[in-house]
Amino acid sequence: MHKDLRGTHLSKKAFDNNEISTTLGDPHAYYEWDTGMGIGRFLQGLKEGRIWGTHCDTCKRTVTPPRVFCELCFSKNITWRELKTTGTVNTFSLCYVNWDATLIKEPHISAVIEVDGTSPRVGFLHLLNEVDPQKVCIGMKVEAVFKDEKERMGDITDIKYWRPL
């Protein structure tokens, strides 16, 4: 609490003891999104330890996560391509703040990885690990670390994280 600010401050205790009138809410919102033909095949690939991309034969552009239509030329002129499981850090951030706004000592490292074989500036968001946070840099070569085969569920988290090559 900032003592130098004017006014009557609300304390955590006041909230905890129900002295402040509030109503708790829970949306109880549950979903099961159909992943579809593009992302569905991509996720199936992760389960097999592969990374799939798609190439638009009109725009000559390779992207991942893959899509069954090209959003630029709006065609279905698409070819599937298996990509390498290596890539380059395009950008990154060291995340020191937890869900509940508390600080953490060892940061989570989020990064955009340009997967080898895609067109420039195309890749996906994931996490880095097995690396000194202070040594992470744009342009760093990294490789995907998959979960053990039997633990893979066909989720983006089938890749545990990426680490320096």
Partner: protein, 385 residues
């Protein structure tokens, strides 16, 4: 300012109970490609603006409009999403064109109802958080409350309301897009399980998945693109009281206000001049309540009209020839899309075996469903007067 706006293209996927094979993006893409072809667009690049109709909590993604451009060919174009029914989307697009800023605008709505596992809870989240939600009862009881009041004050009978189900499900037998066509009887409907008395299961529209895309254009462009443009002649929209404690339970004020606004704009003096009606019927009584609220029938008279056969395909005021929501399915924000699509098909003369002999003008009404009192009315015409 562009005075007249028309629908020049429609595209859609086959509505189904589940659509596990495609993502919502892939579903919308299919509808968009078909719509642009139907509108004879040379390229998606000819489109000036896009309107999506979606609700974040139903989609399960906040700021859902961020996710709409790719599948519409709208990358780096003006796009915005409204949390409203497709009919609301059509009138927003019409206004965009009328500003003169845009010549061609696309409207999209879809339903992936099968992906939302707790629909009733999400619906409950639309109720007041402090004094309605904590009661923790499935909010569809609102249909029961309203139906009870409507019947009590209009003397509409259970048999008359059941007749709406029989008619619409029978009409749906002639519509390829209908997910729930059925040959049924008043007796069977009345015997169906009560879900929120006096509402029964058979009188409650069931959900389905599907995607719909409409292409709208100003007069000059519409005449170039289409031999059969469907002109939007009038539009109205309104919301009544959001609170359950003060709302009007017997009359749909949103429908009354919207219709008044649309008819005035379309210079229609007598609503009975309109050839046919596509009306929200997600609960059977709603069709009758809506018909009375828009002024087609006096209070308590729509039920009798139904029994006289006036609402049938060959009646004086054909209503829900498409099969309505009871026959076609309830498609979230795309509910109004089936209404508008039927209008387009009928006015173009492309309705196949259910083609009406007289289909020059039409009125479509959407309601945003429980617990809202929001609606929109659009009037359409085959020709410009």
């Amino acid at each position: 300012m562009s005075k007249n706006v028309a629908i020049v293209g429609v595209g859609f996927t086959q509505p189904q109970l589940k659509t596990v094979q495609v993502s919502y993006k892939e579903m919308v893409y299919e509808a968009a490609v078909k719509a642009y072809d139907n509108a004879h667009l040379a390229s998606h690049k000819d489109i000036d603006g896009f309107v999506g109709c979606a609700e974040d909590l139903i989609e399960g993604t906040s700021i859902f409009d961020e996710y709409t451009p790719d599948q519409l060919g709208a990358v780096q174009k003006p796009v915005h999403t409204i949390s409203g029914d497709l009919l609301h989307g059509l009138l927003v697009a019409t206004m965009k064109i009328k500003t003169g800023i845009m010549d061609i605008v696309v409207v999209e709505a879809h339903s992936k109802a099968s992906n939302l596992k707790t629909y009733y809870h999400v619906t409950n989240y639309a109720l007041d958080p402090t004094w309605n939600r904590p009661l923790n009862v499935n909010p569809y009881y609102l249909a029961g409350l309203e139906k009870n009041y409507f019947m009590h004050h209009t003397k509409t009978t259970l048999e008359q309301i059941a007749g709406v189900v029989v008619k619409n499900k029978k009409n749906a037998l002639q519509n390829d897009l209908a997910v729930f066509p059925e040959q049924t009887t008043v007796e069977k409907v009345l015997q169906s399980k009560p879900n929120f008395t006096p509402q029964t299961e058979a009188e409650t529209a069931k959900q389905a998945d599907g995607a719909f895309v409409f292409v709208l254009a100003n007069e000059e462009t519409a005449k170039k693109l289409s031999k059969k443009p469907v002109w939007i002649t009038g539009m109205g929209w309104a919301s009544d009281s959001p609170t359950l404690e003060t709302r009007n339970w017997d009359e749909a004020l949103y429908a009354k206000t919207s219709a008044h606004m649309a008819l005035k704009q379309a210079h229609i003096k007598n609503i009975k001049e309109i050839d046919f009606f596509e009306i929200d019927d997600r609960f059977a009584y709603k069709e009758l309540q809506h018909l009375e609220s828009i002024g087609l029938y006096g209070k308590g008279k729509a039920g009798q009209a139904l029994q006289n056969g006036d609402l049938n395909k060959d009646g004086k005021t054909p209503t829900n020839v498409s099969g309505g929501m009871l026959g076609c399915g309830s498609l979230l924000e795309a509910a109004g899309a089936i209404r508008a699509l039927e209008v387009v098909k009928q006015l173009r003369g492309e309705a196949g075996q259910r083609q009406l002999s007289k289909a020059n003008t039409a009125l479509a009404l959407s309601w945003r469903g429980i617990p809202t009192t929001s609606g929109a009315v659009l009037t359409f015409s085959r020709s410009l007067s």
